[in-house]
Symmetry: C2
Amino acid sequence: MPRVGLNQQTLVREAARLADEVGYQQLTLAALASRLGVALPSLYKHIRGADALAQKLSALATAELATELTTAAAGRAGGDALRAMADAYRDYAHRHPGRYPATQRVPDPADPEHVEAGTRAVAAIYAVLRGYGLTDDDAVDATRALRSALHGFVALEAAGGFGLPREVDRSYQQLVAGLDVAFRSWPSAAG
Amino acid sequence: MPRVGLNQQTLVREAARLADEVGYQQLTLAALASRLGVALPSLYKHIRGADALAQKLSALATAELATELTTAAAGRAGGDALRAMADAYRDYAHRHPGRYPATQRVPDPADPEHVEAGTRAVAAIYAVLRGYGLTDDDAVDATRALRSALHGFVALEAAGGFGLPREVDRSYQQLVAGLDVAFRSWPSAAG
DNA sequence: GGCGTTGGCTAAGTGGAATAGCTTTATGGC
DNA sequence: GCCATAAAGCTATTCCACTTAGCCAACGCC
C-alpha cells in the first residue's frame, strides 16, 4: 500500500475543488476519498469527520472571500468601493458555487484562522461603510443589511429563484445602486 | 394491524410540525414515521419519497407565507405596507423555523398548488411595490431586491451569523427603512 | 359475505459516516 | 545499517437513512 502523502491541507483543498464541481451538498467523505484514491476511513487520519471537513472548508472559503473583498475595495471609496465589493462577492459565489455556501457557516471559535478570516471579511465591509460616514451602531446595522442583501441575492440566484427573463445582472446592479442610496441617507438616530 | 388512517395531507402537515421542532435538515422520513406511529416504508403508500415530501412541504409553507404577506399588506400602502410585510416575513420565519427554509425551494411546475402559492407570494410583493410607483422591469428588479434583503437577513439570523450585541430587531428595522428609501428613488432608467 | 383496493407490515439492498483494529511504510536514534 | 515507533494506509463492521419488493389484513362496496 503505497502512501499517497495526504495531509489536512491537501485534503481540504481537494474538498473545495470537489465541492465546486459537484455542489456543496454532494461533497461527501466517500466522494472525496474516491477522488484522492484512498479508502474512506483513511481520511479519518487527517480530519475528525464530515463536520470538521465542512468547518475547515468554511475557513478556507471565508479566507478567500475576505481577501477578494478586501482587494476589490482597496483604493476605492463610497459607491465605487461598494460596487466593486458587491461585484467581487457575487463573482466569488459564481466561480466557487461549492465553496460559497460554506462561507455562511459561523466561524469555529476554536479555529483561529477561521475566526480571523471572518473578522477580515467583516472588516472589509466596515471599511467600505466608513466611506459613507457610518460608524458604531449605524455601521453594525449597515453591515448586516449589506451582508443580507448580497447573500440573499446570491442564494436566491443559486437556488434558481429568479424565474423571469429580466436579466439577473441588471437586477443586481439595481440592488447595489439601491444600497448606495440607502447608505447615503442611513438614519443616524432612528427609532 | 389497525389502520392509522394516514393520507398525504396529514403526513405533510405533521412533517411541517416536526420540521419546526427539530429543524428542516433533521426532518427525516424515519423521524416522521416514528412520530406518526407507523413503520418507515408505510409512508411510501402516501408519498413518493423524501424529495417529494420536501416539495410538498415547500408548497405548504409557501402558501402559508403568501397568505400572511398578503394579509399584512392589505389595507396599507407605501412604507406602511412595506414594513408590515417585512415584519410578517421575518415573523413567519421565526414562528416556523423548520418550514421557512422549505419556502426557498423553487415551485414544482407539476404541482399547481405549489405554483399558485409562489405566484401569490410574488404578487403580494408586487402589490406593495406598486405603492412606490414601480412597474415592469423596475418592479422585477425591486422584487428581487426585496426578496434578497428579507431572505438574506432571516437566513443569516437563523445561521447565527449576527454575533455582535447590537439588537437584531433594530437592525432589521433599519434594513427595511433603507429599502423604503431605496424604493422611493428607485431608478427608472439606470444603466 | 365475498372480494378488490388500500394501507399497513417485514425483509432486504444501497450508500454515507464512523469506529476498531490490523499492517505496512517512513523515519530517527543508536 | 537496524530496528523501534509513529503515522498512514487498509479491511471489517456498525449504524442510520432511503428505497423497493412483496406479503397480508382491514375496510368498503355491492
